[in-house]
């Protein structure tokens, strides 16, 4: 068991070493073999060759922060729904599933689980709605 695991991880380790080593070798080759000719033009920001107008540190409204937070909540919800949908058949089966056929009765664990999850998020949505965080006025 231990020997198998060691050899399994050894190949992964070799892969990581090869990947990191290759990147380091290329970076070193570029550093030591390539010419370095710094200039003012190279330090200048790239704007398709035009003069730079304004500062790159532009301000934007704090409302975007709210939107980002609310978005994150529902984004994570979507991310959870996909694995749940894949596992739904097994979660709805009281017995075991073999070749897509359930050996036991119906289980409401899968649907109940996701309904609780959605309910928590709906409470959160109701809260942000009441706090007028989803409006844009």
């Amino acid at each position: 068991m231990t020997a198998t695991m060691t050899s399994d991880y050894l190949s992964a380790l070799l892969m990581i070493l090869a990947g990191v080593g290759f990147a380091l070798a290329l970076t070193a080759a570029a550093k030591y073999l390539g010419p370095s000719r710094p200039s003012a033009a190279k330090d200048y920001p790239y704007e398709c060759g035009s003069e730079v107008i304004g500062s790159p540190r532009a301000r934007f409204e704090v409302k975007f922060y709210q939107v980002a937070i609310v978005f994150l909540v529902f984004d994570i919800e979507t991310a959870f729904l996909y694995p749940w949908a894949l596992k739904y058949r097994e979660l709805s089966c009281a017995g075991t599933v073999a070749n897509g056929v359930c050996s036991g009765g119906i289980s409401f664990f899968g649907i109940g689980e996701i309904l609780v999850f959605m309910l928590v998020l709906i409470v959160a949505l109701a809260y942000v709605w009441r706090k007028r965080a989803v409006g844009w006025e």
Binding site: L33, S39, K42, Y44, C48, G49
Partner: protein, 183 residues
């Protein structure tokens, strides 16, 4: 022995690596862009020459493709992009407009992009056929291998290396530049 050995000088090996890994910056201003897309796409497949990767930042590119007409107003922008590119770098004038101004005879059009940047290879044609572009790319690869690119010559001269005499041409920055330098 099952091994074969290949001996080369470091410069030759570096130039070999350079000529097969050109990252292009397509400075597309006009209709030649269609032919450029055709060369880049699968039918003519510029990837066979190691130049398949267009970068839209000069920091990551070493081959400037000037694809189309350059106007006097665009000149400074083109020059800045050339200056911002990594070194060594190469320039290809794609089509007659980039090479000579083409059929435009007016005050707005620059008579060739070599008025502002040193061009390594000129491609005639209005627009050039994809085969011509690939031919130009192979010509450029030859020049890179021999160390005859303008940027390579500049760097070699700075480092005090021998510069191939055949590569030194008076016309490096347009027709007027050589005369100005001498005078």
């Amino acid at each position: 022995m099952g091994f074969e050995f290949h001996t080369t000088s470091l410069r030759s090996a570096v130039n070999w690596a350079r000529k097969w890994s050109l990252f292009q910056y397509p400075f597309v201003t006009a209709c030649c862009g269609m032919e450029f897309m055709s060369v880049a796409a699968s039918k003519y497949d510029i990837a066979r020459f190691g130049a398949e990767f267009p970068r839209f930042s000069p920091r990551q590119a070493d081959l400037l493709f000037i694809v189309g007409t350059i106007t006097e107003r665009q000149g400074p922008a083109l020059r800045r992009i050339y200056d911002q590119m990594c070194e060594p770098k190469w320039v290809v004038a794609f089509g007659v407009c980039a090479s000579t101004g083409g059929f435009y005879q007016n005050y707005a059009t620059m008579p060739g992009a070599d008025q502002v940047v040193p061009v390594d290879v000129y491609i005639p044609g209005c627009p050039p056929r994809p085969e011509q572009v690939l031919d130009a790319l192979m010509l450029l690869q030859d020049r890179i291998q021999k160390g005859e690119g303008h940027s390579q010559i500049t760097i070699d001269a700075e480092r005090g290396y021998d510069v191939p005499i055949a590569a030194i041409r008076p016309k490096q920055l347009g027709p007027g530049a050589a005369a100005k330098k001498e005078g």
